[in-house]
């Protein structure tokens, strides 16, 4: 598979360099930490600092969610690899406004271990850190073991809720509580048509048969929980919506936030076709969409596929969702 790359081993650094240049008004480097970035708006005294992060290959995740009303800083790992503790610590120091720092990251063994180590290092420097681990991928473990689930595209909503809570100068404990509530109410599931391409090997990391699709894929180019017969857009959407609705169990009149997300090479036309069906299904269930994000928000290199995330809102979450934000990947006034 062909790609616009120079030396593979430089891909992440060059991506970061390009991102800082593209978003000079929003992102700034952190002195001495080439794998961490901070918001130009910087931390505010008394505001809880929000630090996010994870592996590369999810662009615009994660730096796309750094900015006013969102995260204060980000730590960036190698492709599909959690960042080491050092950049996480650097991001934490850069985000610190004296009111504690909130770490949010997806539930992957690498992220958990590295963020834990960084939190201990920050605590040793007198910065209280609390962590929220996202677990929105409903396909990745049964509901009885929710805490074992992966954190995937729902991160975007959790970042937003937490970023707004921090921006409203809520105390650390409240920010943690709201971010946890957001992840508890986020339900994501993905389907892939083709695997992504490993940068090193420049070939797909596994094969999906010509008449098959992978159900329940994450965002690291990995296989899903099952292969299934390839179906059309509506049927694929239904497969996901059925699972989401059965877990979410919304009441009539409930409001949700939606994210219809390309995993990489799936173009927006297909996302809109999926969104049409998604909304038909929600309407039939009496559920309203308060806000929809649609596009390339949380990707898996060039995987062909999509995920749908629905976050069940309450008045407080809806208000935080509507709070203004300005970041590379999410702007609203």
């Amino acid at each position: 598979v062909k790609k616009f790359l120079n030396r593979t081993q430089d891909a992440v650094s060059e991506t970061i360099a390009g991102a800082v240049l593209a978003h000079e008004d929003l992102l700034a480097p952190i002195e001495g930490a080439p794998r961490a970035l901070k918001a130009v708006t910087g931390p505010r005294p008394g505001k809880v600092g929000l630090v996010i992060g994870g592996g590369s290959g999810h662009e615009p995740g994660f730096f796309g969610y750094v900015g006013a009303g969102l995260a204060d800083a980000v730590a960036i790992g190698n492709v599909f690899a959690a960042p080491p503790p050092d950049p996480i610590l650097a991001a934490t120091l850069a985000a610190d406004g004296g009111a504690g720092v909130l770490h949010i990251f997806g539930n992957f063994s690498g992220d958990v271990m590295n963020f834990e180590m960084a939190a201990e290092m920050a605590a040793a420097r007198g910065i209280p850190v609390r962590s929220v681990i996202t677990t929105d991928d409903i396909a990745s473990a049964p509901v009885e073991t929710r805490a074992a689930r992966r954190g995937v595209a729902g991160n975007v909503f959790v970042f937003k809720i937490a970023g707004a809570a921090c921006d409203r100068m809520l105390p650390l404990e409240r920010c943690v509580e709201l971010a946890n509530r957001a992840t508890q109410r986020c339900f994501t599931m993905g389907i892939a048509l083709e695997p992504g391409t490993s940068l090193e090997a420049r070939r797909p990391s596994f094969r999906i048969g010509p008449e098959e699709m992978e159900i329940g894929v994450g965002v690291h180019g990995e296989r899903g929980i099952a292969s299934d017969r390839l179906v059309g857009a509506d049927e694929a959407t239904d497969l996901i919506v059925d699972r989401i609705l059965s877990e979410m169990a919304p009441a009539e009149g409930d409001q949700v936030a939606l994210l219809v997300n390309s995993l990489g090479s799936t173009p927006m036309m297909e996302l809109y076709i999926i969104n049409r069906r998604l909304r038909q299904r929600l309407r039939a269930r009496g559920v309203m969409a308060h806000r929809t994000l649609i596009g390339h928000y949380y990707t898996s290199l060039d995987m062909a596929g999509m995920s749908i995330t629905a976050m069940l809102l309450d008045d407080e979450l809806a208000s935080l969702l509507d709070h203004p934000c300005h970041s590379p990947a999410w702007h609203h006034a």
């Binding site: 081993q9 592996g55 790992g77 190698n78 492709v79 599909f80 690899a81 959690a82 960042p83 080491p84 503790p85 050092d86 992957f108 063994s109 690498g110 271990m113 590295n114 180590m117 991928d137 990745s140 473990a141 074992a148 992966r150 490993s198 090193e200 090997a201 990391s205 596994f206 994450g218 690291h220 180019g221 990995e222 296989r223 929980i225 099952a226």
Partner: protein
């Protein structure tokens, strides 16, 4: 008595790094099947960074324990990921085992294996049967402990440890993953080798080979 010096530590890590480089594609393939295809590059880049740090600071950091800490930090900060904290933890525990000395008897090397296994188990909270690198490290540590008790030749003890690791790694094929990325695949992880166990077996094999060469013609 043959000694294991600070320079030997550098040489050992160069061998490990070379071996991980050789195994990179194979490990990537294994991780592609049930993970995210990056285990090859993580191990290769991580051990290369550790070896480089050990070489460059050989004079400035003469103690074995400090060397191990250096290697741990270099590896961790190069790769992060799952492997970073696990092997950093392994090497930090090995540093404790080695202590503030510039050399140890070569015969004490099996202790390093035991310490590394403990470090990984502590950080990763995984047990044998979870289909992780512990399925290679735990039997290797067991063999190392047994070997130390029976006063066998160090080269043979390491060979036994490597064999145990290889068998442990092979056994992961029949396991369903409980920890790590592959755990999300549930039964789909069956029938595949765990990449972390495979790389562990390769590390231990490389260590055994290095010791065999280092200790000269076998004495038993």
């Amino acid at each position: 008595m043959q000694m294991f010096t600070r320079h030997d530590l550098t040489l050992l890590f160069r061998s490990l790094a070379a071996r991980m480089d050789e195994e990179q594609d194979y490990l990537a393939e294994l991780d592609g099947e049930i993970g995210d295809a990056d285990h090859g590059v993580a191990m290769s880049v991580g051990f290369a960074a550790a070896a480089k740090a050990l070489s460059e600071d050989e004079a400035a950091v003469p103690m074995l324990a400090d060397g191990m800490m250096l290697a741990a930090r270099a590896l961790l900060n190069e790769i992060g990921a799952t492997t970073g904290p696990l092997y950093a933890s392994a090497l930090m525990r090995a540093a404790q085992a080695l202590g503030a000395t510039t050399e140890i008897p070569l015969a004490r090397l099996p202790e390093v294996i035991i310490a590394m296994s403990e470090g990984i188990a502590l950080r990763g909270a995984s047990k044998p049967g979870d289909k992780t690198m512990i399925d290679a490290w735990a039997p290797a540590a067991h063999a190392a402990r047994a070997g130390l008790a029976t006063d066998r030749d160090v080269a043979h003890i390491l060979k036994d440890a490597a064999t145990a690791a290889a068998e442990g790694a092979k056994a992961t094929r029949a396991m369903m993953a409980v920890k790590g990325r592959a755990a999300r695949l549930g039964p789909r992880s069956l029938g595949h080798l765990d990449p972390g166990a495979a790389s562990a077996a390769a590390l231990l094999d490389s260590m055994a080979q290095w010791v065999t060469v280092r200790s000269g013609p076998a004495s038993s």
